[in-house]
């Protein structure tokens, strides 16, 4: 008898003690202490490890941001979200399907080899990436610095697509960007990049960039507060900022209007969401402004569609769905569905996003919709999205630069299936919108395209396959030691090339 009890008691207590201290340990999870910061090394923290630094395999945002530092692209995206020549000197459009790209002369790869047209041809022939959606017919090196791209059909967003790909050396697979890869330490999950002396804008002032993965949000705050990190882009959330207030003399917080489009997607395959009145009722039942105020401390702006404010193709006169719970209630009653209407919302495991989902649940309840929140791992949600197994899901398109994204997301030929990929996960079918999208794709006059995209967004606000929510601001937190850093709307790391470190 005694032995039976004795055997289980220590076990119980050990488990309890373990749990009580687990919390304490979690909070104090920091990196092992390091020697004092070196003078000309920028300590950058990221929230997830980049899966690849090679531009051909870098798909996540952080991989692309870092990859651009090492593998410079032909064009970059400016703050008006139009392509700006970078490694390219200029682009000449000879006819609707032929582009002549002229490279800057004298460019060098990190190993000293010259960069010329054949490397550009090699890079683009070697990518199997969805990054380049342009219908490329052929790529030819016309001269040492001249590359000719021929397209199958006219494709207006072509130059923006070129910004998505860093140039890789044909012979040695190295890059030609302002920083070169130095080493990687798998034990500390640290990457070191070193300034490239032959960079065409001149050697960057900051000699070394050390990139470290810090997965826990609280640990990231501590790193910044303790001065162990100089740079965190897009990984400090608005609700965390009050914690940094006390350290204002040491830490700088910069905001730029973001490009990450938050939306609610609906599955139009089956009732009740195939009924436009139900979708309108949901849009009218959601009161978004108080969410932006309370949850984002105002650091997000209401959106009227996928294109962010200030984008060259944005129609500034569009209105977001108006909050009108009374009309929503009436609309729902008109549909004849039995109330409360039961719907399920898929959302990720992120605590903050879940809390916003609870706000939707509360607001929809007022008009007679019972929203069940199902928390799933992102990989599971993604699978369900692709296979059309959902009522609603909340997600973010990141970042929305090229308006041709409408084709991927809303064209009826982009409904994902067993044999094809596509972003039209709610199975939205609208021949009129298809026509507008196709027309915009082959229109190269910027003003005409702008008008077409305005019509597309207006149509989407009427038919509501998505409910537009907001754009979250980009928040970059840096040490005050970092000077001359100008954050961009695209959250690019390239402005670090022109920044300096002044250690106090």
């Amino acid at each position: 008898m005694k032995s039976g009890l004795g055997a289980c008691l220590p076990k119980l207590q050990r488990r309890q003690v373990r749990f009580l201290f687990a919390a304490v340990l979690l909070f104090s999870a920091c990196q092992p202490s390091k020697p004092a910061v070196q003078n000309n090394t920028l300590h950058m923290i990221v929230s997830v490890a980049p899966e690849s630094l090679d531009p051909r395999w870098a798909t996540s945002q952080v991989s692309q941001q870092i990859s651009r530092l090492i593998y410079a692209p032909l064009f970059i995206i400016g703050d008006d979200l139009l392509p700006v020549p970078y490694l390219a000197q200029e682009a000449i459009q000879k006819d609707p399907v032929t582009y002549q790209i002229v490279l800057r002369p004298g460019l060098k790869f990190h190993n000293g080899e010259p960069l010329d047209a054949k490397d550009v041809v090699y890079t683009f022939k070697n990518t199997g990436l969805s990054e380049i959606k342009a219908p490329i017919e052929s790529i030819l090196a016309r001269s040492k610095y001249g590359v000719e791209f021929k397209l199958k059909t006219p494709y207006a967003p072509f130059l923006s697509d070129l910004a998505g790909m860093g140039i890789v050396s044909q012979k040695y697979e190295t890059g030609s960007g302002p920083y070169q890869f130095k080493n990687y330490n798998s034990a500390t999950e640290t990457w070191n990049l070193e300034a490239f002396a032959n960079w065409f804008e001149g050697k960057p002032e900051i000699q070394t960039i050390e990139i470290r993965v810090v997965r826990d949000g609280n640990a990231r705050l501590l790193e910044l507060i303790k001065g162990k990190a100089d740079f965190a882009s897009g990984i400090i959330k608005p609700f965390q900022l009050p914690a940094l207030k006390k350290y204002r003399d040491q830490i700088r917080v910069e905001k730029t209007p973001g490009l990450d489009y938050a939306y609610l997607a609906m599955n139009l395959r089956k009732p009740p969401l195939s009924d436009i009145r139900v979708r309108q009722a949901i849009a009218m039942a959601l009161n978004i402004d108080p969410i932006l105020e309370a949850k984002f401390n105002g650091m997000a702006s209401r959106s009227t569609g996928m294109l962010p404010a200030g984008h060259w193709a944005k129609d500034a006169n569009l209105e977001p769905p108006r909050y009108d719970p009374e009309r929503a209630k009436k609309l729902l009653q008109q549909t004849g569905y039995k109330l409360p209407l039961k719907l399920t919302l898929l959302t990720g495991t992120d605590r903050f996003r879940q809390s916003i989902a609870l706000v939707y649940q509360h607001q929809l309840k007022q008009v007679g919709i019972h929203l069940e929140i199902r928390v799933q791992d992102w990989a599971v949600i993604y699978q369900n999205m692709k296979e059309g197994r959902f009522d609603l899901y909340s997600a973010i398109w990141t970042p929305v630069v090229e308006p041709n994204l409408f084709d991927w997301v809303f064209h009826s030929s982009r409904i994902p299936g067993a044999d094809k990929a596509g972003g039209n996960r709610g199975a939205y079918i609208d021949p009129e919108l298809d026509k507008l999208i196709e027309k915009a794709q082959i229109t190269s006059n910027l003003e005409n395209r702008r008008v077409l995209y305005g019509q597309i967004e207006r149509r989407l606000l009427q038919t509501l396959p998505y409910i537009p929510l907001w754009f979250e601001d980009n928040i970059t937190v840096t040490s005050r030691d970092l000077v001359d850093f100008v954050p961009t709307r695209t959250c690019s790391f390239l402005p670090l090339t022109h920044a300096r470190l002044v250690r106090h």
Binding site: M1, L5, L9, Q13, L20, L221, L358
Partner: protein, 254 residues
């Protein structure tokens, strides 16, 4: 000791049973204006109300699981011990297999497969919770089944069911109750752990573990979200551990 134990446990039970009736659910309402203000949590619910309702959820789950585990475990263990032989060997090997898993891990696994929900949480916790009771019940039955009064009952022609129910079970309850009170405290912890990991109660249900989970996200801006549920869990676990200690001392003063 006795006074302390009884006060703590009765306060806990009173809060869990009467608390929600006394303060009403108004504080659980969403109010974005209070989001993460002092005394309020995520989406502006009142932390005190949440803790009181959380006490009900925690204690209810712990008690239900204990009753189910205890019943299943005692019946299983008593049959195993009483019948003995090959049946005992087979039944106990199955218990050994379950015991080989760390309990919380198996519960995690089950909770992850099932959807979050109170009923599923109970299933996950009971799935491993009963084996400890089965072991204790069996060893108790083994100890008493050869006693003279059992032999006497057998000689008088009592059925096996009657012997188990009327003669053996009343004599083995003691240590099982002691274990049950420790069981309650470990279940409070297990529920909190699973809810903390997002595998317990569904989002929006008041629970200490779920509140702790929120608190970790907002640690630097709203530390009260970590401190108060932490205190509640610690006090509840300590109370039921004290209760177990006290029951053991009462049973076995040496």
């Amino acid at each position: 000791m006795k006074a302390l134990v009884l006060t703590l446990v009765s306060i806990l039970i009173a809060v869990a049973v009467l608390g929600p009736l006394a303060i009403g659910p108004a504080g659980l309402e969403l109010n974005l204006a209070h989001d993460l203000q002092s005394g309020y949590g995520e989406n502006g619910f009142d932390v005190f109300t949440w803790l009181v309702y959380g006490a009900r959820v925690s204690l209810m789950i712990a008690c239900i699981c204990t009753v189910i585990s205890l019943s299943v475990g005692v019946i299983y263990g008593a049959i195993s011990g009483y019948v003995g032989g090959l049946v005992d060997i087979i039944l106990m090997r199955f218990v050994d297999i379950l015991l080989a898993f760390p309990g919380i891990l198996l519960a995690l696994y089950i909770a992850a497969i099932l959807k979050p929900g109170i009923l599923n949480l109970v299933v996950a916790l009971c799935a491993t919770g009963w084996v400890g009771y089965a072991r204790v019940a069996r060893s108790q039955v083994l100890a008493v089944k050869n006693q003279d009064y059992v032999t006497a009952a057998l000689a008088l022609g009592a059925s096996h069911a009657r012997i188990l129910g009327r003669h053996i079970l009343p004599n083995i309850w003691g240590p099982l109750f002691v274990q049950a009170s420790f069981g309650v405290s470990s279940l409070i912890l297990a529920e909190a752990s699973l809810s903390f990991l997002g595998l317990g109660v569904p989002p929006g249900t008041p629970s200490w573990g779920a509140l702790l989970d929120q608190g970790v996200t907002y640690l630097f801006v709203a530390p009260h979200l970590v401190i108060w549920p932490g205190v509640c869990i610690a006090v509840a676990v300590l109370s039921f551990n004290f209760l177990g200690d006290w029951l053991r001392d009462v049973r076995d003063p040496v």
